[in-house]
Symmetry: C2
Subunit: 322 residues, 2 copies
């Protein structure tokens, strides 16, 4: 009997899910919008309905399904299967998500942080395929990350490791949502690009037309559009973002001596505008030995990475359970 | 037949070596000074003579020895057993130390970075005993570090991981020996304490008496003495060092979610003067989840940590070889 996994990528605005073979082929995928203002329980109940629906409609036999992986933003206590903190869905805090899902859907459930899922997905089927020691970084609304050490995702003592976005890059920098100051996230995320654009507007007015008279319209996507159309102020923002990202890369290179660092997420689409200054920073500031070992590459799985990685976590879990 | 290991801690000024049981008891130890201005080959030949001597004199039967571990400062390519870069002994660069030693002394040899050896030693017999996920930091002439992930030291793809001292703490900070700028090492090492003391002398003259009229006499040890005798300028230096160290700790906490962080090395003797500002920085700047998981503690094995950890590496190697 053919076997399948389900991978779920639960984002802040969308939930993506797919049926995936144990060798990483996506055979069916689906997505639906999420209303993060709703209560967590309601969102989880919708997820359960969608999952049951997918299983019923797409699998000939429910026994074909060997496990479900769920990638979700936040600090996850892996030991207990509890979301310790979730930025997108506030009242998920301290929710025993794994137990709850397993009660409703009788399959082995693996929970994983969304950036860890991205990292695993890229290692399984994407830009880090075959690597045993690598890091993943997602540049989205925030900055997430994951590290794979000897082929396994680094969870740390309770599953909260890999918070790449909260390395301190400049101790005197802007406040960060985590309570710290000058974290990578305040320099290299979509939110950061928007902040820098607002600052640029305030300073030189060069980006004002982007906002069509309303600064609320200014976001990382139209800053990217502006860069593509040749707007110097927009290019400068990505250049600056790249310098800071480069400092984060230096830290990862020195701490992990990775074979690859894979960078993905929505903001990574502006690659050509931030990567040159990032790689220059790495060249100027990192030690020759580990620098010569590492390759810094763009993610390849696109929007599927999180879903794939979540499914991979489930695959690993079912193997360990045997 | 009783079995033994030998652990060697090859520092910049001293070599320490000991005969150690497989359960971590030091049964005999020795040390000798090293003249780092000599050629590497000469230093290695002395090491070999000393090792042979130790084996012959202290073991009833050479077969009792199951392996030798050598901890040494520098970037070590673990795959190849080559010292890629060594700060203390310059012409050790690219030396095939493991092969050379194994040819001269017919026992399994394990090479390990000195800070990794310290970390392993503290995990085996010291402050992190029983921990599976922890970090070690050595505050000496430089700043070294190691991370243990699922009970194993993190080597990265070629063995150069764990360079805690070269996390960027302030991108605009002083130049670092690694070529970067504002690394942890330029704020939290003995060298850093000396630099800050020189700056303080220049600024306020408060520490000038320490140097007895000659600034060459100023070093981290007499700054520590001055702090103990109540000198405010000296206390301020350790306070500042603590703030920067705290930023490094925040990064480790966010990246590794460790159970413990063990801090050792000569400069850690000034614990009471730098630890309060370090821990305050951690409390102010780190995320609650991983912060509440971690305990930050002083090392316990003293000068034996590196020797113990080197022996432990050899023990692991002999187990893996079987």
């Amino acid at each position: 009997m053919e076997q399948f996994l389900i991978g779920v990528d639960m984002g802040g605005t969308n939930v993506r899910m797919g049926i995936i073979t144990p060798d990483g082929n996506v055979v069916r995928k689906d997505h639906y919008p999420i209303d993060a203002s709703k209560r967590a329980l309601e969102l989880i109940e919708t997820l359960i309905l969608k999952l049951k629906d997918l299983i019923q409609k797409e699998l000939k036999d429910p026994k074909q399904l060997i496990g479900i992986g769920v990638g979700i933003a936040g600090l996850i206590n892996m030991k207990k299967g509890i979301i310790s903190e979730s930025p997108n869905i506030r009242d998920l805090k301290d929710f025993r998500l794994r137990d709850f899902l397993e009660k409703e859907i009788p399959y082995p459930i693996a929970l994983e942080n969304d950036a860890n899922a991205f990292t695993l997905g890229e290692g399984w089927m994407g830009a880090a395929k075959g690597c045993k020691h690598y890091c993943g970084i997602t540049l989205g609304t925030g900055v997430g990350g994951g590290m794979v050490v000897e082929g396994r995702i680094l969870h740390g003592t309770e599953g909260m490791a890999g918070e790449v976005g909260h390395m301190v890059i400049d101790p005197e920098g802007p406040l960060c949502s985590c309570g710290g100051r000058g974290c990578l996230e305040v320099y290299a995320s979509g939110t950061a690009v928007r902040r820098m654009a607002l600052e640029a507007v305030a300073k030189e007015n060069g980006l004002f037309k982007l906002s069509q008279g309303d600064l609320k319209n200014l976001n990382s996507e139209n800053v990217f559009e502006a860069a593509k159309s040749g707007e110097i102020a927009a290019k400068k923002i990505f250049h600056e973002m790249g310098v800071y990202l480069g400092l984060g890369l230096v830290n990862l290179i020195h701490l992990f001596n990775p074979e690859k660092i894979v960078i993905g997420g929505k903001v990574s689409e502006a690659w050509e505008y931030f990567f040159p200054s990032a790689i220059r920073t790495v060249q100027e500031r990192s030690m020759k030995g580990p620098r010569e070992t590492v390759e810094i590459v763009k993610a390849r799985c696109g929007d599927d990475a999180g879903m794939l990685g979540a499914a991979y976590s489930a695959l690993i879990r079912t193997r360990l359970d045997r």
